[in-house]
């Protein structure tokens, strides 16, 4: 199988869709000859022309709505947001329209649109260009939220997202764009609701998605011989593959979620609830998330805020060392900790 970068795999899925289906169009800012901010659409304009690679003005809410209207009337738009943070400007159209039209109109129409966006921190872009806002969309019924972790899953899941008849939020972690991996000649038949066991293990389940799958894999490697870690790649955040999660944690009875979004009300909170409702555990669930702060720009602070292999290793070790009876009852959420710290700083 040929090796391809994550970036080129996303591009390949779009090129194949454009080739296969004349109703597919791309929309977004600077996605033409410029190739998009992360060069994902490079070359597509030359190949498919401006009628299908539709460059939009800087009007995120507007072009999201245009894509939705086009999707209701026969096109299948794939929309690129330059950074996920800018989806904040389009929340109205995405959450009030794309997510709801099928339901409110009792299935009279579908909204086959994909909203793609690069997300995540680690590059010093600062707080308006580094966020991981996936939980916002998980919280909106009617949206699917998909996060690939490899070139192969980027290609396969995007292909499935474009074929899907409903709106799909497709999130690409910036740190993965240059990742190389094997990609087969044909997209295959990917489903949008299945997690994958990346590495089987017996002792603890470490759950990740996108970039954090790689943190989880590295954590497993570092602990090899001491702790047998099972790594799950969620792939889809909405819907969550509850069956795969429960099966895994039923076996390991311990779970650590490694997530790029903020701790409070995040992906890990939902995964934890799903498990806590269904599985009797040997240790309290742990979440390794971005701190509840706007993503800081400078390297020292950004590193401190984001999840890392070291933090995940520490969380797994804690899982292995403590049983319920040994847990420090004083554990508090990051939010509580931070607000306490804030009060201290304020002299209260």
């Amino acid at each position: 199988m040929p090796k391809l970068s994550f970036r080129k795999s996303v591009r390949l899925a779009m090129a194949e869709a454009l080739e296969r289906d004349p109703s597919v169009v791309l929309m977004g800012e600077d996605i033409g000859p410029y190739g998009g901010a992360f060069k994902v659409t490079e070359g597509l304009h030359e190949r498919f022309g401006a009628d299908r690679i539709i460059e939009t003005p800087i009007s995120e809410n507007g072009f999201a709505g245009v894509a939705i209207g086009a999707a209701m009337t026969g096109l299948r738009p794939v929309v690129e947001f330059m950074f996920m943070d800018f989806m904040a400007l389009a929340m109205d159209q995405i959450c009030n329209h794309a997510a709801k039209f099928s339901y409110m109109y009792a299935g009279q129409c579908c909204v086959p649109v994909v909203f793609r966006a690069p997300f995540g921190g680690g590059f010093g872009y600062g707080a308006s260009h580094s966020q991981s806002l996936e939980a916002w969309f998980m919280h909106t019924p009617g949206l699917k939220v998909v996060v690939p972790s490899t070139p192969a899953s980027a290609r396969g899941l995007l292909d499935a997202a474009i074929r899907d008849d409903g709106p799909v939020i497709f999130l690409e972690h910036k740190a993965l764009y240059n990742l190389e991996g094997e990609v087969s000649d044909v997209p295959g038949n990917w489903s949008l609701d299945q997690a994958q066991i990346v590495r089987p293990g017996q002792d603890v389940t470490v759950v990740g998605y996108g970039r954090t799958v790689w943190l989880a894999v590295e954590t497993a490697k570092r602990l090899a011989g001491r702790v047998d870690v099972e790594v799950i790649d969620l792939r889809s955040l909405a819907p969550l593959d509850v069956v795969a999660l429960v099966e895994s944690v039923d076996k390991t009875r311990r779970m650590v979620v490694v997530e790029d979004d903020c701790l409070t009300g995040g992906v890990g909170a939902e995964v934890a609830a799903v498990i806590a409702e269904r599985v009797r555990l040997d240790a309290p669930i742990a979440r390794v998330a971005c701190a509840d702060v706007p993503v800081p720009c400078c390297e020292s602070l950004e590193r401190a805020a984001l999840p890392s292999v070291e933090k995940a290793v520490a969380a797994v070790m804690r899982q292995m060392e403590v049983g319920y009876e040994l847990v420090d009852r004083g554990t508090e959420s990051g939010c509580q900790r931070e607000s306490r710290k804030g009060r201290q700083l304020a002299g209260a």
Binding site: Q93, Y103, D165
Partner: protein
Amino acid sequence: MTTMRDMTPYVVGRAVPIDPGASGQDGSSRAGCSVDSSWAVTMLRIRHFELKINELFARGEVRGTAHLCVGQEAVPTGVCAALRSDDYVSATHRGHGAAIAKGLSLYGMFSEILGRRDGYGAGRGGSQHIACMEKGFLGTNGISGGGLPVSVGAALSSKRLGLGRVAVAFFGDGVANQGAFHEALNMAGIWRLPIVFVCENNLYAMSAPVSSFVAGGSIARRAESYGMRHDSIDGNDVGQVFEASRRFVDLARSGEGPGLLECLTYRQLGHSKSDKRAYRTREEEAAWLKRDPIARERRRLDGAGIMPAADFDAMESRVVAEVASEAERALACQAADVSTLYDHVVPEAAAKTCGGITCPS
């Protein structure tokens, strides 16, 4: 430079004679007048539908809210009369009139607003979320300004797929201050899409008078910034609305790009059910009642020898009876079934039709 004159008072872009009631001369010079009573029927159906909703509200049969367009019927009637049945329309929170004018059934609409299973959304949409894809009706909309980009998208797909369909986006005067309005007009402008933006300027956005909330003195003229033709007309004269719409729609269809049509009108009732109308005077309301679009059409039909007033009144009685019986049928329809709660959250496997086109999958 902005001058004080630009700021007050709000001026309609073109001088429009809007006191036909006094002169009885309305419509005499219009080219596109209907030679029959079809516009009158549509306006009457809208009027009595709205009055029936009001009555059902008072009786406690309708939950939530509803925004009625009594007094504004000529706008959707005239605009939709200029459309093909497969053209697209997106409407506002005050959108029952547009839905009826686009051909939706009274029964389906009553059922939807009453939460019955035969409603257009099987009871899950309600007054502000009624759509009918078969009729190209992309929905009333609970988000002020939400429908504009959606209509631009419909115009985009019509152009790309070569369907020859025109999209219309109705919007209120309040929406001229919404970002989505400007983004939508700009995209329609740069892509020269087949779309007509129709402003239902009823002088107020809830309680906010257009004169103090729209800078620059004109909604219609905002279209100039987007390189778009525009006109400002008497929206209580159905013939004038039709004539202007036909011009704009035909130009849009023939590839001449988008336009913005501002229709000056007046909402005779409150904004929604709890409005005490403290922001406007009873004198102003009385003056606008004299310009009632249906009374004017009744006089025109009589004066032009098309339909004597007595026949008009008999026709109105028939519409009242039709509306009453459709409402009764809807009341008799079963409530939405609880077992359907999760239906259509995500599209079901069956082929979906999108604006009359089967979604490729």
